[in-house]
Amino acid sequence: MSGELKLRQENKQEGTCIYISGEVDIYSSQGLKEKLYEIVDSSEKDIIFDCSELNYIDSTGLGIFVGALKKAKQNNKRIIITKLKENIKKLFVITGLDKVFVIEE
């Protein structure tokens, strides 16, 4: 199918960059949550999600993003979501989450 879920982390000047690729669904996200929260918890900079290779997400994945945001806020860090595909950005708009996250091109 069009891509297993993969996470890759890169520490950059601007922040901790997380590349999410593949499909985040109810099954694939089972491992994502812990990994993501761990990265967010231990990051000393803002978190930047690069979603250019993210092909699918639904409420399961959006919920995990919200959870990550809560953790980031506790640490006074921001989460910046970048390079969302159109169909996925649409889901952030529908749910109002586009106003909760910082979303950049």
Partner: protein, 126 residues
């Protein structure tokens, strides 16, 4: 009208198969790629909820795709009637917002013999 049925185990690992099937149906009908993505998400929101709430009491659930020239209607059903009206009182939740926004007609609580139903029209110009 053509009718396609898919019976799936109530397990997270098979939700992707439901998405794959609906993308095949919608593609065959002539929906554009963007709309197919929307339909996949809306469908998956229902599957997710059934899988989460379904516990061990039921083994499987059924998705019926009713294909007409200008409309795709998707009906969900399951032997466990406790899964009826599964989205009730979830007006604010992510799943419900997504389904409502992406589909043209949604019947969350059916009086009929199924769990829920949703439809999307095939626009002439798409």
């Amino acid at each position: 009208m053509d009718c396609i049925e898919l019976l799936l185990p109530l397990k997270a690992e098979y939700v992707s198969l439901a998405r794959l099937a609906v993308s095949g149906v919608a593609n065959r009908m002539g929906f554009d790629i963007e709309t197919i993505e929307d339909i996949k998400v809306a469908l998956a929101e229902v599957c997710n909820k059934l899988v989460q709430k379904g516990s061990n009491s039921v083994q499987s659930y059924k998705i019926v795709f009713n294909v007409s020239v200008d409309k795709l209607n998707i009906v969900f059903d399951c032997e466990d009637k406790s899964l009826r009206c599964i989205f009730e009182g979830e007006g604010e939740k992510l799943g419900v917002s997504i389904i409502n926004a992406l589909m043209d007609e949604v019947e969350f609580c059916s009086n009929n013999s199924y769990l829920m139903s949703m439809s999307i029209a095939l626009k002439g110009d798409s």
